[in-house]
């Protein structure tokens, strides 16, 4: 029985570990998307934050400066996205794709120029430069895991219960009405985009200085897109999105355990199938086969103020 309890505990811990960056990223993306700004650039923000977090942690020797640098880097990307999409009313998907590609290239270029290790950062010193587990050393429950868990009720409270949240939802559904009420659409959306930068910055920092000991190229490996899938899967609401992140995290944890295991009646389940499952499930949902995912009405449409 002890074995079973241990397996359950370790699987739960592994689930939480892989779900943490997804949750942080999803909460950030949720603010942006609820305000009507599509964010396919989550991946890029996370990647650039991961790089700067690890780079600055190496240079300063402090994990906290790393976290701060990750947030700043993601915020700069978020501001660029806002500048292109809100101020210049550019195509939001194009902007997001551009930022993803930019981040993929820039992290390797800068990493190579600064550390001469082919785009990697030097391995971080465990005690000072990484975020370490707080209560359960075997579970990897560092502070950002708890931040991620706390971010969900926080996001819910902000979106559902505050004046800012009400306006945020309104601007994502019908910006004209918000504008007519004398509230700035741009400023609201900028704040949403900045919130998104904050959370995706934390997610990136988690990946490079908590989950791993340093940055390696393309280390976010599509997690930003899985977070995006989780937002859609959660129908743009915080708690269902958390559920989706946990399911996707669990799939990942199981995938490692299932490697080479023969499931009765099914045979050996390919790891790649489980890895593709979050995307496949989201597509099924989007196709209307499991419930219906309705996006904020004004999502992706630049707002043009009438004069």
């Amino acid at each position: 029985m002890d074995d079973l309890a241990a397996i359950v505990f370790l699987t739960a811990a592994a689930t939480l570990r892989t779900a943490t960056p997804l949750i942080l990223c999803a909460m950030g993306g949720l603010f942006s998307e609820r305000s009507g700004i599509v964010d396919v650039g989550l991946e890029g923000k996370m990647l650039i934050a991961a790089f700067f977090a690890a780079a600055i942690a190496t240079i300063t020797g402090s994990a906290w400066w790393g976290v701060a640098a990750g947030i700043v880097a993601a915020e700069i990307m978020a501001l660029l996205h806002g500048f292109a999409c809100i101020t210049y009313r550019g195509n939001q998907v194009v902007s997001g794709v551009a930022l993803n590609i930019l981040a993929a290239g820039l992290t390797v270029v800068l990493g190579n120029a600064w550390f001469h290790q082919g785009g990697q950062t030097p391995p971080l010193d465990t005690a000072r430069e990484r975020l370490m587990p707080i209560f359960f050393p075997r579970a990897g429950d560092n502070v950002l895991v708890y931040v991620a868990l706390a971010s969900v009720p926080l996001a819910w409270w902000i979106v559902a219960r505050t004046r800012f949240g009400l306006r945020l939802r309104a601007v994502g559904e019908m910006p004209l009405a918000v504008d007519a009420a004398g509230i700035s659409v741009s400023w609201l959306r900028y704040r949403a985009v900045l919130l998104c930068g904050l959370f995706s910055g934390l997610a990136g920092a988690y990946v490079s200085i908590a989950q791993n000991a340093g940055f390696s190229r393309d280390m976010t490996a599509g997690q930003g897109f899985i977070a995006l899938a989780a937002i859609i899967f959660g129908k743009w609401r915080p708690f269902p999105a958390l559920g989706a992140c946990l399911i996707f995290g669990l799939l990942d944890a199981i995938a490692i355990r299932l490697q080479g295991v023969v499931v009765p009646g099914l045979g050996e389940v390919p790891v790649q199938f489980i890895q593709a499952l979050p995307y496949l499930l989201t597509m099924f949902l989007l196709a209307g086969f499991i419930g219906r995912a309705v996006a904020p009405k004004a999502i992706g449409i630049p707002y043009e103020k009438e004069h």
Binding site: Y88, G105, V109, F225
Partner: protein, 354 residues
């Protein structure tokens, strides 16, 4: 910040604005190169020399450009229908699978003149099929094509890893790749160069896309849908069918990357051969203004960057090949998302004078 929606003279709209956007992108690239500690002009010099300095480098430039033409055309043709296909990466991957499967199945039995068109057709078919699913989901189930094509990139990648590791792997091979193609499944190439017959296929595709878009009934309907779906529907266009057609053609074009890479160079199915060409296609299409001629020119530039960038990275240890990826990102940012950035100033400058 308020923007004057200045109307510009036609020549400024078509030529000046895009050129300024690209100049801005390269200005930022120069700044980044400077930050890294390399003289930008020296780097540019090395890059140009590396791209077109010898017949060998020209061969590489053209070979890279071929891939960019395929993915650039793929993005462009979908754009004309108002569809944003970010799935070029996955479509190229699966297109290559189709091409490879056809060759693995028949290269022992068919002569080259039959094998080559069959494999090219299979690449187009598989690429189109991979694009058809997101297209169908958008046309009939209302799910957005941007999201579904992104998801399908990851599904394609997982599928290919599975197939290469478990099914297609050559017996006795340690690396996940298929057995080599027989001689009839290899495209004729210049000796010692990756440049192969696919480049002519790319040129033919440019002409075909141009003919299709501006000289056929379907091309007209596709563009009408892109400009105004409501009007197109009112004029009797079946929007669902046009969505399917636009995306399938787009996927088929992306699938030809597999022809250039697998049939032209690797001569077997390998992992990760699309290597970002699908995403770069967005930059190529934006820069080429979605016109086949523009796409071809932009593809040449990107091909030169790819080849010159590799040579530059060889010379300058401070610079890596990923510099090219940075340039692609910045080009998409400045000529796509921030396209309107110079407009107010340009309008101020030009309209007052005129």
């Amino acid at each position: 910040m308020r923007l004057s929606r200045g109307a510009l003279p036609g020549w400024a709209e078509v030529l000046l604005l895009p050129l300024i956007n690209i100049a801005l992108a390269f200005l930022v690239v120069g700044i980044i190169v400077r930050i890294i500690g390399v003289d930008p002009f020296h780097a540019l010099n090395r890059l140009i020399l590396g791209a077109i300095g010898s017949s060998e480098s020209v061969g590489y430039t053209l070979y890279y450009a071929t891939n960019f033409i395929f993915t650039g055309l793929a993005v462009a043709i979908a754009f004309h229908g108002g569809l944003f296909n970010i799935g070029g990466e996955g479509q190229a991957y699966v297109g290559g699978l189709g091409c490879g499967l056809a060759i693995l199945a028949f290269d022992k039995y068919l002569p080259g003149w039959l094998m080559v068109p069959l494999a090219i057709g299979a690449a187009a078919l598989f690429g189109a099929a991979w694009a058809a699913v997101p297209a169908w989901l958008q046309a009939w189930r209302g799910s957005h094509i941007v999201i579904t094509t992104i998801m399908f990139n990851f599904v394609a990648s997982a599928l290919m890893v599975y197939l290469l590791v478990n099914v297609l792997i050559a017996p006795g091979s340690m690396t996940p790749q298929s057995r080599g193609f027989g001689p009839t499944g290899q495209l004729p190439a210049l000796p010692g160069s990756p440049l192969n017959l696919s480049t002519f296929l790319a040129i033919a595709c440019c002409a075909a896309v141009w003919l299709f878009l501006w000289h056929t009934r379907w091309g007209y309907a596709l563009r009408a849908m892109g400009h105004n779906p409501e009007a197109a529907r009112y004029a009797g266009t079946d929007l669902r069918r046009m969505t399917m057609l636009g995306m399938c053609l787009s996927g088929a074009l992306a699938g030809f990357v597999g022809v250039n890479e697998l049939m032209g160079v690797h001569h077997r199915i390998v992992l990760d051969f699309p290597a970002g060409y699908g995403f770069a296609g967005i930059a190529v299409a934006l820069m080429g203004r979605n016109h086949p001629l523009g796409v071809a020119l932009a593809a040449l530039l990107f091909g030169a960057l790819q080849q010159g960038g590799a040579e530059l990275a060889f010379d300058e240890p401070a610079i890596t090949r990923e510099m090219v990826v940075v340039i692609q990102g910045l080009v998409i940012l400045f000529s796509g998302a921030l396209e309107q950035l110079p407009r107010p100033w340009l309008a101020l400058l030009l309209v007052r004078r005129g």
